[in-house]
């Protein structure tokens, strides 16, 4: 049988076959969607009170996004969020959006806790998630809300951008009317950006991966202001001087430290230490501590890899340094300044 003997398909029959193929494809898609595993948030996303579950969830979410595993993210269980954990969540979604240029899908929006919706909206997560068609009722309830804690929208970049720190501080000022030593806070934020840009990421990472994020919150009842800077890099304990280990070890043995991640954070905050080995560097973290040192009541909290460090000032007096190590590392470094206004 030659080629000319093959029966030509009519246009109608071709259209019918195409339509059938499409329907089969859609059915398969629906079926596979139903089979997608569901990644649920814990009840509380907060590093202070629910560290392990929070970090486990954020790590899983990063892996899901990194390897493009299709998953449903269920936020309906979530009842409490801290500004730091919300910023970390925003960073995972923002990273994915910038790297893969795809929108993250969420489900069952109507089942989400109302307070969580408000906090996510304030932090700027809805813009990331592409959620913008709010009901009139939701908008009305938000405008009438007299909530105690207000989140301040995150900003992000791959460069040191003082103007973004200025915008964040301006938005805080609109709510609080004052920020003590605001120029020092601004300088601390730009130093956190500098550390992220210069030290946090390895050379093989592309521009879209080398991001930092800043955000804030204000609790009216206790007049507590929180400002946070976060990067998803390799962490302070790793970036501390590889080439200056002798100096580092001397310092560690001088203060009877054990060279854990928390000890390394303490060294970085206390001394002019840097991964570059240059004497003029490594002043950023001590400067971030100075902001709290100059406040009457404040805390500097640093989470980096498995280490956790707190420097605290109460009624103008420095308290003993608190530090600890966890079993699960956070990805990168989170710096949190807390001051009482």
């Amino acid at each position: 049988m030659g080629l000319k003997d093959v029966k030509r398909l009519s246009f109608e029959y071709k259209s019918y076959l195409l339509l059938r193929a499409k329907k089969i494809q859609q059915k398969q898609k629906k079926k596979s969607h139903g089979q997608k595993a569901c990644l649920s948030t814990p009840f509380a996303l907060t590093l202070e009170d629910n560290y392990d579950e929070t970090v486990e969830f954020l790590t899983k979410l990063s892996e899901v996004y990194q390897y493009k595993i299709p998953r449903r993210i269920d936020f309906s269980r979530l009842k409490t969020v801290s500004p730091a954990a919300t910023l970390m969540l925003a960073s995972v979604i923002d990273s994915r959006k910038k790297q893969f240029r795809t929108r993250v899908k969420v489900y069952d929006f109507h089942k989400w806790n109302y307070d969580i919706k408000v906090k996510f909206m304030q932090m700027g997560l809805f813009e990331l998630l592409g959620i913008n068609n709010f009901s009139k009722n939701f908008k009305r309830r938000v405008s009438l809300m007299k909530e105690d804690i207000i989140f301040i929208k995150f900003r992000s970049s791959t460069k040191v951008k003082g103007e973004l720190a200025a915008i964040l501080n301006d938005e805080i000022m609109q709510i609080t009317k004052e920020i003590p030593n605001v120029t020092m806070l601004h300088a601390s934020l730009t130093e956190a950006m500098q550390n992220a840009v210069e030290h946090a990421y390895t050379d093989d990472m592309v521009e879209e991966e080398r991001l930092w994020w800043i955000a804030g919150s204000y609790k009216k009842s206790s007049r507590k202001l929180i400002v946070i800077a976060y990067d998803r890099g390799i962490g302070i304990p790793v970036t501390l001087p590889q080439t200056h280990n002798t100096k580092l070890q001397k310092f560690i043995s001088l203060f009877s430290l054990k060279d854990t991640d928390a000890d390394r954070i303490e060294v970085a905050v206390t001394k002019d230490t840097t991964s570059t080995g240059k004497k003029e560097r490594g002043k950023g973290l001590p400067e971030m501590k100075d902001y709290i040192k100059n406040s009457n009541n404040g805390k500097l909290k640093i989470f980096s890899n498995k280490g956790f460090y707190i420097y605290e000032v109460e009624d103008g007096k420095e308290l003993e340094i608190k530090k600890n190590n966890s079993n699960i590392p956070i990805q990168g470094t989170l710096i949190q300044w807390e001051v009482k206004l």
Partner: protein, 109 residues
Amino acid sequence: MSKKKIVICNDFYFAPGGRYYPKDGDYTGERFRDEFLIPALKNNDKVIVDLDGTRGLGSSFLEEAFGGLIRNGFSLQELLHKLELIPSKAGYDAKAWEYIKSAENNRNA
């Protein structure tokens, strides 16, 4: 005697930050040093710098701008003679001089 005054918040940027240009950002210490301080110091007998008025100056910016003058061939003596930093409310003038002296010590070490 020629004089040049640089007001950082008007002549450069209201929110500078970062060390190297363009790697770290657009308004860094390196850029301020190379585009403002060094040409002014080369072409004038006296350079007066007003560091107030910005939203805040981080140590990376200040160190690279002022400590970097020493690494770019200026001596402490020369800068003490030519450079005048207007006393700053935030103490930036003192910090900048500290970075200059520290860079000079590192060069001589």
